[in-house]
């Protein structure tokens, strides 16, 4: 630095900026959002720290005793005190299995959405910014993709890979297959939203001025247009995480997802389904409630975020 004295204002910390922003204010004033966020954080944190919290390791066959199978949760008579939520058909502690299963479901949901977002945002940015034939081509691809239902694509893909690689290999890489198939199947959601925002932003003068300053299209798209298109991306991201978790659960329920040895919420529900009429309803019901609550709070958060970031109500 040369002679001049530039005294930057003392900047408020990032956290206090977020807390005092419009979004932070609306969050503090919205009990539903606070409640949903709290529930989501409890589920997410306990799932993330599952190895520390869970009393048993459901992936370790040595800690499972088949003789412990189908013990009911603590409030039903006949429960064992060491299995607070009972056990499943293989004698695994249900509480531990749910923690691990939620971790897997969240992981798959978030990674699949990250993949969707990456594909969808890149394609949407290019389609919206370049326009013309590229736009038509990419959007027709998106239309074709949307005309297949996600589950249908996923079922075909997973069934074929399962047949190709055999159950052994498939079970080993099931997480990656699930992330890939859910990620690829839903990118048009992002691509369409991003394209629409880009079309609106592209007409603004700051994009023109960036062009006159000689910046390349890549730089304009990523540094100038993308940061201004983030609000709708946030909103659909939350909804898409919920959708991805449901897709994963459905696929696992159908036996095309996580193997019974590494149960996600969906495969846990599915494994308990066989016992629902023999009285062991908790194997299906408790993971089911966790799944519903998880998806519900994510959707409620998404709803709240959509209201806050709605440009008609507030333009940031």
């Amino acid at each position: 630095m040369s002679t001049e004295t530039v005294n930057p204002r003392t900047e408020p910390s990032r956290w206090s900026k977020i807390w005092n922003s419009n979004m932070g204010y609306s969050f503090r004033k919205n009990p539903v959002a606070i409640f949903s966020m709290a529930v989501f954080l409890i589920i997410a944190v306990s799932a993330f720290f599952a190895p520390l919290i869970a009393p048993y390791d459901p992936y370790d066959p040595a800690s499972i005793d088949i003789m412990n199978s189908e013990y009911p949760p603590f409030w039903v008579s006949g429960a064992l005190p060491e299995f607070s939520l009972g056990t499943d058909d293989q004698g695994r502690d249900l509480w531990s299995t749910i923690l691990y299963g939620t971790r897997l479901s969240l992981l798959i949901g978030i990674c699949a959405v990250a993949l969707q977002a990456f594909l969808g945002i890149s394609i949407g940015l290019i389609a919206g910014y370049v326009g013309g034939r590229v736009d038509s081509l990419l959007m027709r691809l998106a239309d074709i993709q949307l005309s297949f239902s996600t589950l249908m694509v996923a079922i075909i893909f997973l069934a074929v890979t399962q047949a190709m690689f055999g159950s052994e290999t498939f079970n080993q890489y099931a997480v990656y297959f699930l992330i890939a198939v859910i990620g690829v199947a839903e990118w048009p959601q992002y691509a369409r939203t991003v394209r629409a925002t880009v079309l609106a932003e592209k007409k603004k003068e700051y994009v023109d001025s960036a062009r006159v300053l000689g910046f390349g299209p890549g730089r304009i798209m990523v540094r100038h247009i993308l940061p201004n298109s983030l609000s709708p991306i946030f909103v659909i991201s939350t909804v898409q995480v919920a959708n991805a978790i449901i897709s994963e659960a459905s696929l696992s329920f159908l036996g095309l997802g996580m193997p019974p040895s590494q149960p996600s919420l969906g495969s846990l529900i599915s494994s308990g389904f066989d016992y629902i009429f023999s009285g062991s309803w908790w194997i299906t019901a408790i993971p089911g409630i966790v799944l519903v609550v998880l998806v519900l709070v994510i959707n409620l958060l998404g709803d709240w975020m959509r209201d806050v970031l709605n440009p008609k109500l507030y333009k940031g």
């Binding site: 023109d208 000689g214 100038h224």
Partner: protein, 348 residues
């Protein structure tokens, strides 16, 4: 005027045309007319055969009603639009058909200031980021300190406190934003600035400040301006020469003093008579009848014929050519050429 003619102009616009197609898809162009199916494409003729020169060091003002193609001319020169026909030369080099790589050195020389300071700054970038980015982009070898020095220098020159660099555009007023937008254009040390109505979105009290800032920059940096405006009092203050545009066609080009003291084209006369004046106790505005014709179906002949009191049959069939006048101005008008204007003008 003699010595000006020797020096070649900085920017030459030759026969510039821009049409925007209204019917874009193939199916939209197919029409059913008179029992048969034909293909026709309607288009908006925004700029028609505009020829202009901008000399080094001058401020050429382009004036006209809204919708007459002023901004389109600015965007064509800035390279934001590609012309449908015609050529643009900068220092003798043709610039309208360059690729993005070839135009890169010119981006340093030609800069643009936009109309709306609320839209022309990226809302998610701090002032520092907005000003540093072009310096870095065009001077990759600059060190961090040199970039910072340049940013501080331009901010000082536009009268914005350099300690505000960490702020976002929404923390500034319109006038301050426009100063920052000017600072951003100046970061690359341009020699030619296209200003597209830079003050029309500002408060009247701020307009003069920004205008004086631009005049100062013109003196201290030797800038040349292509200044788009619809405000004639600004033109009188700012411009060295004026081009009057009507329906995408140049009516009259003259030195500012000449144009204001002796307007020749009937449209220019009407435009000047519409400027409100303090001494006006008996306003005798020239009232133009009718509306501007739609630029989709341009009238044959002179574009101004439908509202001109001097229009005759020749005006309705033949487009007037720009003709040099003895006082240095250029006017496209049949009536002036034939001397019909000097006759007692009805309504004046």
């Amino acid at each position: 005027m003699k010595d000006m003619a020797v020096q070649s102009p900085l920017l030459e616009i030759k026969g510039l045309e821009k049409r925007f197609d209204l019917d874009q898809g193939f199916l939209e162009t197919v029409k059913f007319k008179g029992g048969r199916i034909t293909r026709e494409t309607r288009s908006v003729h925004a700029v028609n055969n505009v020829t202009l020169d901008v000399n080094r060091g001058e401020a050429l003002c382009v004036v006209g009603e809204s919708g007459c193609g002023k901004s389109t001319v600015a965007r064509l020169v800035a390279g934001l639009l590609t012309p449908s026909a015609g050529e643009i030369y900068y220092e003798g080099q043709r610039i309208d058909d360059l690729s993005r790589g070839e135009i890169q050195p010119l981006r340093k020389k030609i800069q643009m200031i936009f109309q709306n300071p609320y839209a022309s700054l990226n809302p998610r970038m701090t002032i520092l980021q907005a000003l540093e980015e072009p310096v870095r982009h065009h001077n990759p070898k600059f060190s961090a300190a040199e970039v910072r020095d340049k940013v501080t220098e331009v901010m000082m020159s536009v009268g914005v406190d350099p300690t505000w660099i960490k702020r976002y555009p929404h923390e500034f007023s319109g006038g301050q934003r426009q100063r920052i937008a000017i600072a951003r254009a100046l970061t690359v040390d341009p020699e030619f600035i296209i200003a597209d109505e830079p003050i029309s979105a500002l408060d009247v009290s701020i307009q003069a400040q920004v205008l004086n800032l631009m005049l100062e920059a013109k003196e201290s940096r030797g800038l040349t301006y292509l200044f788009i405006t619809h405000d004639l009092s600004v033109v009188e203050h700012f411009g060295t020469r004026v081009a009057v545009l009507y329906l995408g066609t140049v009516c009259e080009v003259a030195d500012t003093a000449t144009l204001f003291s002796n307007p020749k084209h009937p449209y220019t006369k009407a435009l000047l008579s519409a400027v409100p004046q303090l001494k006006d106790d008996r306003p005798n505005h020239i009232r133009l009848k009718g509306e501007i014709p739609t630029p989709i179906n341009l009238p044959q002949g002179c574009p101004f014929q439908s509202r001109c009191i001097f229009a005759n049959d020749r005006c309705k069939s033949e487009k007037p050519r720009a003709i040099h006048q003895p006082d240095g101005s250029t006017v496209a008008c049949h009536a002036l050429e034939e001397g019909r204007l000097d006759a007692d003008a009805p309504g004046l």
